[in-house]
Amino acid sequence: MSTATLNAPTEQAQATDASVTQPHQANDAALRFITCGSVDDGKSTLIGRLLVDTRAVLQDQFAGITKSGETDLALLTDGLSAEREQGITIDVAYRYFSTEQRKFIIGDAPGHEQYTRNMVTAASSADAALVLVDATKLDWKNPQLELLPQTRRHSLLVNLLRVPSLIFAVNKLDAVEDPALAFAHIRNQLAAFAQAAGITVRATVPVSALKGINVVDATPGWAGYEGPSLLQLLHTLPATPADRELPLAFPVQWVEKFSSSADTTQGRRVFWGRVAAGAASVGQQVTLLPSNQTATIAQVLDHVREPGDVEAGNSAGIVLDREVDVSRGDWIVASVENTQPVADDDFDDAPASQPAWKGQRELQATVAWMDDEPLVPGRVYLAQHGHRWIKAKVRRVVHRLNINTLAEEDAEKLEANAIGHIELLLQEAAPVAPFTEARVLGSMILVDTASHKTAGAVLIRS
């Protein structure tokens, strides 16, 4: 995919006050991170520890987790009665805390395989993931120690979803006889697994959530570790990058019509949405998909200003220079000069430009299946891509990923919580791209036509 030079910010825009042209600096937003890993690895306790030690827990909330003098940090996040009854986390709890340096939003994801869909929900909007590993559950004296399946599954999902940072937090090291040896062995095994799976790990940190060791303040030398504490690491993590370097892609969320005669541009329509890739600026040539009409951007509106240009991640309104048929679900994409030599006999029909993102009906994808009803080839689902709903037929399951061996196995269908590779046929062409290149264009959900449940998270491969 080529990078369109016409999207580069103009000199004028760069010279303007940054607070006006770039109101959404990544480091000004909260860092959204999730905690995941296997059941009882101490996720809820770790969050409780972070909240208590950064003084984000208030007196009445603290009283609610203390029964007969014993404080159970996990109760801060397990908010459903069924969770307290069973002592497990069923759904994501979102918690908020801040330090001098940064605001944080935590998604406390459930560890049970049965609730993987909720973990995927939390991961899809996260800037970072802490995968907790319980040192007491592993045979760390064995050089060939086996990681737990959920450690593998969650790491793979975090990686698939392109969460920018993955941190392994090796927990409960206070409860093993030789923390340094245990941490060294577990860290080696995690590194070997990550390398085999192609997962980039930002850090591996030893912690004791229960005792608060190396969570907020660093504890140099503990478990043979000299690096930053978990919170110190969290302060340094990047937010999710927007796909700004790509050609413009703008999914039309809502079409607003103005009919007021007081409006100088009577009959004008504004196409509202959030820039999915690249940037939109006045004067830019664009193509409307799926109709393939072309137009020029006449006006770019922010919600309070008329900034002239907006980039990936910003919500905006686009006004075009001519009347074209555009409705919710359509895409406004950059046009690029057609550089292909045109055959003489086609000359009269040749377009002057072509869309930077072309429509596609057949695609290869990785899918994380979340519904109890298995994914079956031949079945038609509803796919949501941007703001468009398209019928999608699963042509075949190419393979299913074995979480433990990372082997690609033959499969007829995908059961709940499976990760697999599928071929999809869309009823209409959509401007898709590999998820590794463009997040919004490369992602869709599959919805069951009968139950309306969100059944699959689709990450487009090609």
Partner: protein, 310 residues
């Protein structure tokens, strides 16, 4: 370690993160306008709904709100809030629909166990009746995940069955910003555009945007009695009990709801900026300090939400 312990840091408190929150809220408000046929925005005149309304003004432009405002009136409201609600709706040129618990009582669909009972919980019945009457398919609310543990679990687009029930164990996965808004007949969605805002964010935003609020959010003198660690306002509906001493205090409301279950906190904060500082220093949560009805059981909010409460 954090701002809570270091008041000197307040002057440096960044509010740039509010842009990202505002952006998310506007995106959701527009999504509701586009994806549903008959949405409504629940509007009480309280601070959270006024913050939502400011975001809606930015999303749609002044005077062009694409959905009506809906108020479920318990009949036990603070007059300052009701008056402000009406004033703000008129100022915006918005359609305001009011449905009242009193009417449900007259119809016999709501029966109180005793006359002094809080009507807060009964709002669910009136709300579901309004949903049926207007065939609303999406109701936008100002609930925040930091308010309460059950709310911390809820999706931004929260699916409700034909009985208006929330099913916490069967929530739809919510991936990226692909909101699955598919409905079967009789079902609806509750949508929470300010899910990710905290009480502090709300006050910082009110301060930054100079949003006008009902006067009782700021310090005023009020007759109260001290009861179980709360300051209970003395009103016709909440008279002092035998032996309780009525005192006058400088107070403000952190949250505003049904008179019979909402308490003020002691405060001399006269501006949103003052309240930002107080919120940073607060040792008790918004609900813990102010709500009588949440204390009954750990799961009371979850239970009410399952019954169709907002």
């Amino acid at each position: 370690m954090n701002a809570r312990t270091e008041p000197a840091l307040l002057s440096q408190l960044s509010n740039r993160h509010l842009d990202a929150l505002e952006e998310e809220t506007i995106f959701i408000l527009r999504e509701v306008a586009a994806a549903f046929e008959r949405p409504a925005l629940l509007f009480s005149g309280g601070k959270d709904s006024l913050v939502m309304l400011r975001c809606a003004e930015k999303a749609f432009g002044a005077g062009r709100l694409p959905y009506p405002l809906l108020m479920i009136d318990t009949g036990h409201n603070f007059a300052e809030v009701t008056e402000f609600r009406d004033f703000r709706a008129k100022e915006l040129g918005a359609e305001l629909i009011v449905r009242s618990v009193e009417d449900s009582m007259a119809r016999g669909t709501v029966r109180l166990a005793h006359p002094g009972e809080s009507r807060n919980v009964h709002q669910s019945v009136t709300l579901l009746e309004a949903i049926e009457e207007f065939r609303f398919d999406a109701l936008i609310g100002g609930a925040r995940r930091d308010e309460e543990k059950a709310r911390a679990k809820e999706r931004i687009f929260s699916h409700r069955d034909s009985f208006g029930q929330w099913q916490p164990k069967a929530q739809r996965p919510e991936l990226w910003t692909l909101f699955n808004t598919r409905l079967a007949p009789g079902e609806h969605f509750r949508v929470f555009p300010i899910s990710n805002w905290t009480e502090l964010d709300v006050w910082q935003y009110i301060d930054r945007e100079k949003i006008a609020l009902p006067s009782i959010y700021y310090t005023h003198k009020r007759e109260v009695v001290e009861r179980k660690g709360l300051l209970v306002p003395v009103t016709e509906l909440t008279p002092p009990k035998d032996g309780e001493e009525v005192v006058t205090r400088d107070v403000r409301f952190r949250t505003v709801g049904d008179i019979t279950c909402t308490c003020p906190v002691e405060s001399t904060a006269a501006t949103a900026g003052d309240i930002v500082i107080e919120t940073l220093a607060a040792e008790v949560s918004e609900r813990g300090a102010t709500r009588m009805d949440d204390k009954t059981s750990e799961a009371s909010m979850e239970k009410r939400k399952k019954d169709g409460y907002f």
